[in-house]
Symmetry: C2
Subunit: 228 residues, 2 copies
């Protein structure tokens, strides 16, 4: 899924959006975020399905619990899962940046939960990515050792989200992952509520954060004025 | 110290600014914050010296370490310290709101570190305060039991700041105080660095947060557009 402004001619900033487990590239919040990036900040956005998710599955196999179970098994058993996803993202990045309406502008990454599990290794592997929104995950699960190592290699600015009452990933584990991020240019935003209860204004803040880093100051629309 | 826009006629929003220990009402960051509130958001701001601080001291007795020591002793020995400061703040609020250039508009509180130690009880005691910026402190020190009780009674929206590498107040203690805040309308922003290393953009975010809650939407200047 690719979103660009109606009048688009590249090069313009591009954000790669990684969805969470048991979701898809056309999840409502992914679409809403992409539209904010396009309409408020004149950036492009692209989303692809994660491993065993969305259009990668046989038609009709979309039960969320089943997808979660299969992802959990593959995640535990297959070290190539993350590497395959990185290759997919990098191929998508090359393909999308070859389009006239996107072009070779600066690149950001946005991904929470599974989007962070798979996104931190991507941010480290893909040098074009110069800013990232991460969070809703921590140093836990089958790839936590790899995740800690990759986190230490993250060198770009990061906004990291935590849900204070997250039952899927206890906040202490998330704090450990934030702590492990190698970049000094990082900040953590925590909100009350469950894993999936990130408030709307925090989504807007993530879009503003990406725009502050990807959109040249002279091209910032009114939405960017608060960062001045 | 009172700051108002040049063209000021009330009523307009007012922010009470509480400084940190060993500082004064005319500390550089207090002045910078007040100017941001006035110039970017057309609010008024007022700051007074804390107990044993600034103009409350004999002339010339301004050594920071000595002030810190005296505050620590008074804080431990004198339960009236907090109550006296609350009475001072409430008298200042009445006096300032009686001025034509301020008037009886909505009221916010901004105070970090000692400004939170003394500010949480004030926010609970003064019903006019409808939003607060707090942080750089936690459930520790001689008044931690009172602070926990008062925190539970805080009912207004709160932005709470944490410095990730704070040696004066370890982050776990700050997390406990954030957790204890009774309001559900709260969010925590953490940045790397020491107690005093709150980054400039976080100061701007606190001003924007206060404006979002105190300034009617139709009066928001361009700086408020990002919150739309």
């Amino acid at each position: 899924m690719l979103w660009t402004p109606a009048e688009a001619r590249g090069p313009r900033p591009l954000v790669l959006v990684g969805h969470g487990a048991a979701q898809t590239k056309s999840e409502a919040y992914v679409v809403a975020l992409a539209r904010t990036l396009v309409r408020h900040h004149s950036m492009a956005a692209v989303a692809i399905d994660g491993p065993v998710h969305g259009d990668r599955r046989p038609a009709g196999h979309v039960d969320g619990s089943l997808v979660m179970l299969e992802f959990g098994q593959r995640w535990a058993d297959d070290p190539a899962l993350t590497d395959d996803m990185i290759q997919d993202w990098r191929a998508v990045l090359r393909a999308v940046q070859s389009l006239d309406e996107v072009g070779a502008g600066p690149v950001g990454y946005w991904g929470l939960s599974m989007g962070t599990i798979l996104g931190i290794p991507l941010v480290v592997a893909e040098p074009a990515i110069s800013v990232a929104v991460l969070g809703l995950w921590g140093l836990t699960g089958p790839t936590s050792a790899r995740l800690a190592g990759d986190a230490a290699a993250v060198a770009c600015p990061v906004l990291f989200l935590v849900q204070w009452d997250d039952a899927l990933c206890p906040r202490q584990r998330s704090f450990e992952l934030f702590d492990a991020l190698g970049t000094r240019d990082k900040r953590l935003h925590a909100n009350p509520g469950a894993h999936s209860a990130v408030p709307p204004e925090e989504f807007l803040a993530t879009a503003q954060f990406l725009a502050d880093h990807l959109v040249p100051a002279e091209h910032q629309t009114t939405a960017g004025a608060a960062s001045a």
